[in-house]
């Protein structure tokens, strides 16, 4: 009997001890799928799950409308979302994201490239929108953005993202606009007409991709002779799938990805804990082993995989003609231009 009583006391003591320790978090994280989300899985999700937390993953193609719909319908199923810069700015302005409390995160905002750009996100990586081709199918491949629009020199289909972002910019560049003037020109009705007119010239020869994973896919299938893509997606296909792709860095468009928390997220505190974990220099450096994107946390730069360094969009050789995608321009004009772009597509 005494033995039994001791056992009960011991068991209850154990239980209360377990009760004191915080039970593992359970959160939903939405990102862009494909090679990018795989890299996040290896660098962030798996180590985080190993610490006793639970992560439910979802994928999207960066549609700000989906985040807004959730917030408006007050049925929020996403906690943490990986967005690009125009999306975080627009969603923030429309009240669909939580304002980030950096104190609560325990991080120093000044350590993050672009951290001041918005109140609603923590910068995670720097990526470039580039284009590429398959050297096994095309010997003398394209070298300039103009080549995308040159059907005589490079006949065949080209892959472009089904979005006005980057396509309108490249159209203007191919039409002779300098990097510094892109958004000045694009802000005017005449500039927009000019960009759409340039796109008209290749419209019949475009295969439109929607999710980031489709771009390397259509290139590998031979559906297109060249395609625009996010640089890490092409690099992953080269490194992991041993594809003979070549990346053309001419006039790459630079942008950030952000960790954001949806306004009214059911697991707000858990979301904070995850973002804090994923923004630390260790995991940030780790991610470069799996995908060629630059860490946004400056402290992570010493941790970057040396093999990846020359493939980062921020490597000096790749920056020669690069421009920054203007997030404020797209946050302000994105809706109107997307509508026009969708109308243009179906004509």
């Amino acid at each position: 009997m005494k033995k039994f009583a001791t056992a009960v006391i011991a068991a209850s003591a154990l239980c209360s001890a377990a009760g004191l320790a915080r039970a593992g978090d359970s959160i939903n994280i939405t990102s862009w799928g494909g090679a990018y989300q795989d890299s996040q899985k290896k660098a962030y999700f798996e180590p985080y799950v190993a610490k006793g937390n639970k992560i439910t993953e979802a994928e999207y193609n960066g549609e700000v409308a989906k985040i807004k719909a959730m917030v408006e319908a007050k049925s929020i199923t996403w906690d943490v979302v990986d967005t690009d810069t125009p999306t975080v700015l627009q969603a923030c302005a429309e009240g669909a994201l939580e304002k980030i409390d950096w104190g609560k995160l325990g991080l120093d905002k000044s350590k993050f490239i672009g951290g001041d750009l918005t109140e609603c996100g923590v910068p995670s990586i720097v990526y470039g929108t580039v284009f590429g081709y398959d050297t096994s199918k095309l010997k003398d491949g394209p070298t300039k953005v103009n080549d995308i629009f040159d059907l005589a020199k490079f006949p065949g289909k080209r892959g472009l993202q089904k979005s006005p972002v980057m396509n309108l910019e490249w159209a203007l560049i191919a039409d002779g606009v300098a990097n510094a003037d892109i958004y000045k020109v694009l802000a005017t009705k005449e500039g927009q007409d000019r960009a759409f007119k340039k796109l008209d010239s290749i419209k019949a020869n475009v295969v439109w991709w929607e999710s980031g994973a489709q771009a390397p896919q259509i290139l590998a299938d031979g559906q297109v002779v060249m395609t625009s893509a996010w640089n890490g997606r092409l690099q992953s296909a080269i490194d992991k799938d041993k594809k003979t792709f070549k990346i053309v860095w001419d006039h790459q468009g630079l942008d950030w990805d952000w960790w954001t928390i949806v306004k009214g997220a059911p697991n707000l505190d858990a979301g904070y804990r995850f973002v804090s974990f994923a923004s630390a220099p260790g995991p940030q450096g780790d991610q470069t082993k799996y995908i060629a994107y630059g860490p946004a946390n400056k402290d992570a730069i010493p941790n970057v995989d040396p093999k990846t360094l020359p493939n980062l969009p921020t490597a000096p050789d790749n920056l020669k003609t690069a421009f920054n995608i203007d997030p404020q321009f797209w946050a302000d004009n994105g809706d109107a231009l997307r509508e026009r772009f969708n109308a243009w597509l179906t004509k």
Partner: protein, 425 residues
């Protein structure tokens, strides 16, 4: 008078039999109602209610009314001939400041942006700069920040966008706009799109309906003439794909249609590609994937059983004696078929075609997967408006148009053929 009370038939307990009967009938009716209640409630909640909400969303537009209540009340009495007076500017500035605090300013901009391009950034910038301004006159303050506030058109837009109900979404779903004076005009050319999409949706649906009828009618006739065990075997061939998920069949088609896929390779190996090239009908390899042709072929395949099965089940009920009688009275086979057989299959043809046509109007997955951007139909645009542009009003307006088209079709069908003649089997 006493006579009548004596002749009334009474039940054993003395109540009049008539009342007793009514009572028991009422009980029967209640029981019947109770039995159908679950379905009735289900239909009301899952079908009727969403449709009503969608129709409401197509004209309901509370954003500006909610964020700018005072401004819109003041603008209601404004005649639109000259710039509004200072009180309007004062109310607007105060409400914009409040909206900025609650991070709703972008909503105002977004709504105005639907009608006046670039208003979104102008509103957000104005709201940001206005935070620093503490004192009026507000007319001057606002027009200094952005001259757009000195524009009558801006205020006319604010005025009619701030009414709770608006024809705006329905008009824009038909490529129309309302000017400041209230007149209805066509939308700017680069934004005109929906009339074309509606026409395209009807064109593809008609084409698919005609093709399924041409392909399905002979097959239905053939099967209806076979002995039962053979007919059943053939029906299985039709029903198996019918029971397979739409998504699976569409994906299968998208694999078949790929450049360098099975169909292209077959055409190449069999020499058809060479022949078409030699005839000048084709240059190089055929491109099928992401084309109108692929969309129509895949949709026809998917819709075929919907047209075929009602026709078949009607044909099964037609006695062969009618044809025999016609023949014995001297009609040629063709004449007997057209005059005697065909009219009897009309209810089946009408049912099958109506079913296919209405289902085709709402196609979404198939045009999205095997068709190109120039093949997307109305349903694809409802998706784009919701998930890509975040414009629920327009999505609802497009839905309302599709819904109305279906109702009109049903009405026309009822007047021409009569809905009681509809036979699904």
């Amino acid at each position: 008078m006493n006579m009548s009370s004596d002749t009334i038939m009474r039940a054993a307990d003395g109540t009049p039999l008539k009342a007793k009967l009514a009572q028991s009938l009422r009980r029967e009716q209640l029981r019947a109602m109770a039995l159908i209640a679950p379905l009735l409630i289900f239909i009301l909640a899952s079908f009727l209610l969403p449709i009503l909400m969608m129709l409401k969303n197509a004209v309901y537009d509370p954003d500006l009314q909610d964020t700018l209540p005072r401004t819109s009340a003041l603008l209601a009495t404004w005649d639109g001939k000259a710039l509004p007076e200072e009180p309007v500017f004062e109310a607007f500035a105060a409400e914009l400041k409040a909206a900025q605090k609650e991070r709703n300013a972008a909503l105002i901009g977004k709504r105005l942006n639907y009608e006046l391009p670039a208003m979104k950034s102008k509103v957000t910038v104005t709201a940001r700069k206005l935070e620093a301004v503490q004192q009026g006159p507000w007319k001057e303050a606002l027009t200094t920040i952005d001259p757009v506030w000195g524009d009558i058109e801006t205020w006319a837009t604010v005025k009619h966008a701030s009414s709770t109900f608006t024809p705006f979404y329905l008009l824009s779903a038909l490529d129309l706009r309302q000017t400041a004076e209230g007149a209805i005009t066509a939308a700017p050319a680069e934004r005109q799109i929906y009339r074309q999409i509606i026409m395209r949706t009807f064109l593809i649906s008609t084409l698919v309906t005609v093709l399924t009828l041409l392909l399905g009618f002979p097959v239905a006739y053939f099967i209806s003439m076979l002995p039962p065990h053979q007919a059943n075997l053939l029906l299985v061939f039709i029903l198996l794909p019918f029971w397979t998920s739409l998504l699976v069949r569409t994906t299968a088609w998208s694999i078949l249609f790929q450049d360098g896929g099975v169909i292209t390779q077959f055409l190449h190996v069999s020499g058809i590609t060479w022949l078409l090239n030699a005839l000048g009908l084709l240059h190089g390899e055929p491109a099928l994937f992401k084309t109108r042709l692929a969309t129509v072929i895949a949709m026809t395949h998917i819709q075929l059983p919907f047209t075929l099965l009602p026709i078949y089940s009607v044909m099964k009920t037609i006695s062969p004696n009618y044809m025999r009688a016609a023949r014995s009275l001297g009609a040629t086979p063709v004449y007997a078929f057209i005059k005697v057989y065909l009219p009897q299959t009309l209810p089946g043809i009408a049912a099958g075609c109506l079913l296919t046509f209405i289902l085709s109007l709402g196609y979404y997955i198939t045009p999205a997967l095997v068709g190109g951007p120039t093949d997307s139909m109305i349903a694809g645009f409802i998706d784009t408006s919701m998930n890509n542009e975040g414009n629920w009003g327009k999505a609802s307006a497009l839905g309302a148009i599709l819904f109305t088209a279906t109702l009109v079709l049903y009405y026309v069908y009822n007047r021409l053929v009569g809905i009681d003649k509809l036979k699904l089997g």
